[in-house]
């Protein structure tokens, strides 16, 4: 247990270094969300009042689909040279492997969301400046939840035969509560008279804690051959 945090820090450093060197995940995810935002802006009238109602749902759907793209290679990358075995042989607690991947995925997702938020606000005529700090909190809690559940499912699907198809099939239904709640909380924040839906924020926090605890308890079994 004493080496869990140092191991996690070392592994997080590795995850960040390899991604910022290749930029594969970030580029793919940003481009995907960009395409969705731009395409939908052509099909609806972004200046209408309606956009305040549908835009949050569109935004979170785009984030959710993009996250399934981002999380897919999370454990597949470790299979190419069997580096997952090397990690399992090296760490004192396998939870450290998950913790580092969850943190890295949450950082990448949050970064993507924050980068694309100004464009979204501009194209859909949604003012975000006054509620930015609340939006960042929702983005953080939702991204963490998506990363925790998605990383666990990525470990499961990486060992399956239909691995490319399996992750979205497992992930999207499981993350429906996050999609619904994040959309509702965001819609309240995009309102003409913005307000904070505390119940929704509380739900996202509880979701994160419950799934992280489950990962801590059962994560080791997900890595076994």
């Amino acid at each position: 247990m004493s080496l869990l945090l140092p191991n996690t820090a070392v592994l997080l450093g590795k995850e960040l270094r390899t991604e910022f060197r290749s930029r594969e995940l970030l580029t793919t995810t940003i481009v995907f969300i960009l395409i969705v935002i731009v395409l939908f802006s052509f099909t609806f009238d972004p200046t209408s009042d309606e956009s305040r109602r549908f835009a949050p749902g569109l935004l979170w759907l785009a984030f959710l689909f993009a996250s399934s793209l981002m999380l897919q290679p999370c454990f597949l990358r470790e299979q190419r040279n069997d580096t997952l075995s090397a990690l399992r042989l090296s760490v004192s607690d396998p939870f450290g492997i998950f913790l580092a991947k969850v943190a890295a995925n949450a950082i990448f997702l949050l970064l993507t969301e924050l980068l694309l938020l100004p464009l979204f606000a501009l194209m859909y005529n949604v003012p975000v400046g006054a509620v930015l700090h609340w939006l960042v909190l929702v983005f953080f809690l939702a991204s963490l939840g998506i990363s925790i559940a998605g990383t666990a499912l990525s470990a499961i699907s990486a060992q399956a035969r239909m691995r490319e198809l399996l992750l979205p099939l497992l992930m999207l239904p499981l993350l429906t509560p996050i999609l619904v709640v994040s959309t509702e909380v965001s819609r309240a924040l995009f309102d003409r008279a913005p307000y904070v839906k505390w119940k929704g924020i509380g739900f996202l926090a509880v979701f994160d804690v419950v799934f992280l605890t489950a990962l801590w308890l059962f994560g080791e079994y997900l890595l076994e051959e």
Partner: protein, 234 residues
């Protein structure tokens, strides 16, 4: 190689079974590998060599039976023994340099003075001048050197090598044989799987043949040693 910082450790497999769905990969394997022994596992593809090595590395949990590490000088020390493992795959990251890879695994294993240890190992495996090159740009032989350096980072008392010469050219095999000889002579317990006779198999002090997940032959010296290895290729 560096002077040993370990005490000899043996391995004891007791009635190990490993089942993957309907396939029984190991059937009641019982073996005692003495401390300091250099044992060669031979057998056809699918005979259970890799599974047995992965059980020994604690990467695969046996379906039945048990694995124990023994240290005659200090009694059993199961949890303290962390074998060094070299597999078919290199088990290192192509996207990182040789130095970054070794530093990563050294830090994960809490190796003392990781920079010094990595520097010494890169010298030992002859990659000091390529330390800052990405492993993805290396030849198979160079990658195998990094893989061996990774396995030796924590000075393991037990080394598990799964067909370590796969993909190596004759020069690479000669280098590997010399490296394994030095490791054997330093007192490490070595269990390695091989295909047929080679410079590397001649380093073995014991040959064990597996067939369909069971031990079918086991000898330490004499003509049988050779026949076990060559029959594996038949």
């Amino acid at each position: 190689m560096t002077p040993p910082a370990f005490s000899p450790v043996g391995l004891l497999f007791e009635k190990i079974d490993k089942r993957y769905g309907g396939l029984l990969a190991l059937r009641g394997v019982s073996l005692a590998i003495a401390p300091g022994e250099c044992a060669v596992l031979a057998g056809r593809n699918g005979s259970g060599k890799t599974t047995l090595l992965r059980v020994a590395a604690r990467l695969v949990r046996p379906s039945a039976g048990s694995l124990r590490f023994s240290n005659p000088s200090r009694g059993d020390e199961e949890s303290a023994v962390r074998p060094g493992f070299v597999a078919h795959a290199t088990m290192v990251y192509d996207e990182l340099t040789a130095e970054e890879n070794l530093l990563l695994f050294a830090r994960l294993q809490a190796v003392a003075q990781p920079e010094h240890r990595v520097e010494a190992l890169l010298e030992e495996v002859g990659l000091a001048d390529r330390r800052r090159s990405l492993v993805g740009t290396f030849s198979r032989g160079m990658r195998q050197r990094v893989a061996i350096a990774r396995a030796l980072l924590h000075e393991p008392a037990v080394l598990l090598l799964d067909e370590p010469a796969t993909g190596l050219d004759p020069q690479g095999v000669t280098w590997l044989a010399e490296a394994i000889r030095r490791l054997r002579d330093s007192g490490r317990t070595i269990l390695m799987s091989l295909h047929g006779e080679s410079e590397i198999s001649s380093l073995g002090t014991r040959a064990i043949r597996l067939d369909a997940g069971s031990v079918v032959a086991d000898t330490r010296t004499g003509g049988t040693f050779r026949s076990i290895l060559t029959f594996a290729d038949a």
